[in-house]
Symmetry: C2
Subunit: 294 residues, 2 copies
């Protein structure tokens, strides 16, 4: 199938690779062109000069960029993808955005007879490299059915969760669940150290029971080792939590702990940790204790 992939970041780069490896005819666009050329050096596919150029003639156009405004630019802007797409084609946006943006783009696409799925992913860079992402989608079942076999090139799970926006809202639920969880884990390890315990031995015991989590299993070691140069960056989780807190303000949900953890992440940014993994909430707790007390 003729497809386009717009946005070759740490996620998009390997996702587009899986599409090419899956036999699809891929046109790629990236704002920093040299990265698209690097991609094309190793993969069959065409480097396009603009989103519109990439999208022309494609049955499916994928986007994986930064924020709401980046999606707007690459899809709706001058030289945006939508203007070059034919009725019957479809757009799949893998960016994590607001639900409002998803509905806005869906409406603009529908006006031209183009399908749209908001389809944020989870699974991180490793999931993208291995082609085992989880994709949460919102949109029309017909569009979902068209995209499904193609998205399968890089996703282990691809689920339609409701109308436009539902994918983004589901991703917000994911980020809300993780926020309290990861700060709880950080506080537990911080307490263990302050109490003079062998934190690793404690984790070995409690990770079999009601405190168990993916984060505990996969992040306690790097937390205790003070390694944060990996994983999902604090700058990005703050973007996601911002969308979730905005949405909660509109829909009447109360997120007291999520709101606090968002603030704590702001302090990690102030420590210079914007690019650190989300588990650096532990660094924040430990760092505070090193501040000299006059």
């Amino acid at each position: 199938m003729k497809v386009a992939f717009l946005g070759l970041g740490v996620m998009g780069f390997p996702m587009a690779r899986h599409l090419a490896a899956g036999g699809h005819e891929v046109a790629v666009f990236n704002r920093t062109r040299v990265r698209a050329e690097r991609w094309a050096a190793d993969n069959p596919g065409r480097v396009a000069a603009t989103p519109a150029d990439a999208a022309r003639g494609a049955a499916l156009v994928f986007t994986c960029v930064g924020r709401d405004e980046d999606v707007r630019e690459v899809v709706l802007g001058p030289d945006g993808a939508l203007g070059a797409m034919s009725a019957g084609a479809a757009l799949v946006d893998h960016t994590t955005t607001s639900a409002a943006l998803a509905r806005e783009v869906a409406a603009a696409a529908a006006a031209r007879g183009v399908g749209f799925l908001d389809a944020p992913v989870s699974g991180g860079q490793q999931g993208a490299e291995k082609g085992i992402l989880t994709v949460m989608a919102g949109g029309e079942p017909a569009t979902f059915a068209t995209a499904e076999p193609v998205v399968a090139c890089y996703a282990r799970a691809f689920r339609l969760l409701g109308p436009s926006g539902a994918g983004q809202l589901a991703k917000m639920v994911n980020q809300i669940c993780i926020a309290g969880l990861i700060e709880g884990l950080a506080e537990g390890l911080h307490f263990a150290r302050a109490a003079g315990l062998d934190a690793q031995a404690v984790i070995d015991v409690i990770s079999k029971g009601a405190a168990q989590s993916w984060q505990m299993e996969n992040r306690h070691g790097t937390m205790l080792a003070g390694q944060f140069e990996h994983g999902f960056a604090v700058d990005w989780v703050r973007k996601d939590l911002g969308y979730a807190l905005d949405e909660a303000r509109r829909n009447g949900a109360h997120l007291p702990v999520t709101a606090v953890v968002d603030q704590l992440y702001g302090e990690v940014q102030d420590m210079g940790g914007g690019r650190w993994d989300t588990s650096s909430l532990f660094a924040r707790l430990e760092r505070l204790r090193d501040v000299p007390r006059a």
Copy 2:
């Protein structure tokens, strides 16, 4: 072996049963005597009139009562177990207490040549019934070695984590990790409902990834069904978090989210939910939305 079990609550009752079934000669004591008589009706063993009466001649004395003051009464009080114990015997306290209480009782026991382990458990009523508890211990290795084969009657894991108090401190780490985690899960489900999502479908997707936890797997269903008459009661988790927050004040650890969640549990108590499972943090979030706005 001749043993005593003091405190036949929802945990102690089945734990003492496993000891009797394991061939040990068990004397039991319970403040409300009728409960001890009910135990003895179904199990081989003797009902004692006082803790001292139960402990006399026992090589190991187990306690599983409520709070610091209950342990003090049953071990150190008039008619307490310690006064009746011989040098070389040992006390194993399964109550979740402060670390300071563990050190206090250990010192009193040592003065009489009696060993002591602080040994709080996790795994809940179900774990006690099935004999598959996890036990976190603090104390001397020799005492641990003596207790190990007997505790194995009701524990799947029994780990010595350091000197007296270390078992209680490890249990606090467990409770700290769970506090943020469970409020995060509650906020995620509450947001999902407010956003009009199919919360079950969302959990099906996100429980495969970085948001996964034992609590998500085992409590999302009862949360969404509004079932809270089971599991680990809010009144008890507040006791445990109180000990953890006190300890953190002493050892210099900062627990911002744990402190907030403790307050939220206080609001659940005000709702009449003191006996509800800890997952009733979800009920608190949902209930708030039902308050009429004038």
